[in-house]
Symmetry: C2
Subunit: 166 residues, 2 copies
């Protein structure tokens, strides 16, 4: 009859960290799982802050991007490219935003394959309120000093660039 097993180490870590300690000192694996865990935490915080405004962080990013476009509109393909997500993710986000009345699709007469996305007035309002909400939260990341934040950012940036992310 199996009883609840007790691992010979600390509190709780993602499997990768346990794995690392057992299999080899794959700090890479340890780091990988830590990054995934941190991402999970941060995304949960951001989504929670945005929930009262009826959007998620993924959709917030889309609104931001559109609002910063010089013409006020952006082809869906550009959105996917800038956010580095699959085209279908963009379709999905825009579908939701459109059904919420925050965004409008406009056909491109010049290139009839393309579709522009444009913020509605409601979209602009929600974006403004959401931005305010995000700036107000006390972020997990705020647990790091500004210097540590920069340092982390730089490290991740070189990781990304070595992964060919730019």
């Amino acid at each position: 009859m199996p009883t609840e097993p007790k691992l010979p180490f600390d509190p709780i870590e993602r499997a990768g960290e346990i794995w690392a300690r057992r299999i080899g000192e794959s700090t890479a694996m340890k780091l990988a799982t830590s990054i995934m865990r941190v991402q999970q935490l941060i995304l949960a915080e951001l989504d929670a802050a945005l929930r009262p405004h009826g959007i998620t962080f993924a959709r917030y990013e889309v609104l931001v991007l559109i609002s910063f476009s010089s013409e006020g509109t952006l082809p869906l393909s550009k959105i996917g490219e800038r956010l580095m997500v699959h085209p279908t993710s963009v379709t999905n986000a825009i579908d939701r935003l459109e059904s919420q009345g925050l965004v409008r699709r406009l056909p491109d007469e010049a290139d009839r394959r393309r579709t522009f996305a444009e913020l509605t007035d409601d979209g602009k309002d929600v974006l403004a309120a959401s931005t305010k909400a995000l700036m107000a939260i006390d972020f997990a990341i705020d647990g790091l000093t500004a210097k540590q934040q920069d340092q982390t950012y730089d490290l991740l940036r070189s990781l990304r660039s070595s992964a060919g992310d730019f």
Copy 2:
């Protein structure tokens, strides 16, 4: 007629980074989006390495955890706790693993609310092969030196602990 807009900055960044530059120097936001991006990259790498073995990294983590339990079985609740995921995510993962024949559910006679998960022989084989595959890949994280990896890990760890993650 809207034309494809050109942002007055670099290649491509997630919206949060653009947002940061425009709205304020919220390095927190910049860092947040960078973490999310890196997570996306890493998870894609890991899943790609595991695809030939028919599992994902999420399910791999479950296999690892079960295999490291002292009794060879683990109550589902412990799995969720250690991986820090929602109970329904565990149910989901175990459902898939079970239907793949990699894991077995066992009732706990002592506490009939509980269910144990146990690896099948196939599960052990897949785990071994998967671990090998993961150790063989040339990881994005390997773009950092060992020292940088440790440094990043420490930074993220203090971030997590300030978020009350332990």
